[in-house]
Symmetry: C2
Subunit: 148 residues, 2 copies
């Protein structure tokens, strides 16, 4: 029998780390009175880099499905951080843009993300971070291939 040992499972530790990192990030956001979630930050980040993405494009960029992006962007719009604009050429499509209010908190959000990175990765040297990043990117390729 191919028994799995959770104690030494990379997969399992990725799942645990993901949850813990999210908690840290969320706590730091709260401490800075930013009422935004890590997932909303993910979307807002992309829109701060380049405006005009559609729901579908954001879905690909963030590895989330249309439904999730649809709801996350609804909340961001209600919060006044982004705007959805119907495309003139294709009326099915929304183009999304960050608002001035959105841009106004981007720097703070980057700072929070930066802090939570430092907290999470303390004591892991640059070489090992490099190995981890490369491994994680490989996992994304492997899983993406399998799910196709």
């Amino acid at each position: 029998m191919n028994k799995v040992d959770l104690e030494t499972s990379v997969n399992h530790h990725i799942a645990l780390s993901a949850i813990m990192i999210k908690r840290v990030f969320f706590k730091i956001l709260s401490e800075n009175e930013l009422t935004i979630t890590p997932e909303q930050w993910n979307v807002l980040y992309h829109l701060s880099e380049s405006g005009g993405f559609t729901v579908g494009e954001l879905s690909k960029l963030t590895f989330k499905d249309f439904a999730n992006i649809s709801r996350i962007t609804q909340k961001l719009e209600v919060a006044g951080l982004i705007k959805k604009r119907r495309d003139d050429a294709d009326k099915r499509v929304f183009k999304l843009f960050i608002t001035d209010s959105g841009m106004a908190i981007i720097e703070q959000l980057h700072q929070c993300a930066f802090e939570s990175t430092n907290i999470a990765l303390k004591g892991i040297d640059a070489d090992n971070r490099e190995v981890m990043l490369k491994g994680l990117k490989q996992i994304l390729i492997n899983t993406d291939t399998f799910l196709k």
Copy 2:
């Protein structure tokens, strides 16, 4: 400004990998007609290793909060895979045990977990897996310390 680049963020790639790994695992479980979720597997795994854990103990073991374990174990009990038994000495406490039906599928579940590990980690050699595991464990320590 301490700008974060998602493309090279270990934190971010852990979050993405966690989601993708869960999708792969869930798909493999479905293909094997196992109607159990990765989180339910996590709880069932611990109970298959050793019976009698309380909700609180499982909560610590799985890094989830009481509320989540409470609901996950409810579903596992409804599915007939585990039993909750009131402790005689302390009537607030539940002791949890895997049932025969639960034990009957453990081997299949291990096999599914094993397969999803192989899919996710393909092309990552043992040394690098070791580095990743060590880094992830460090992240758990770091984040846990911060959240205390």
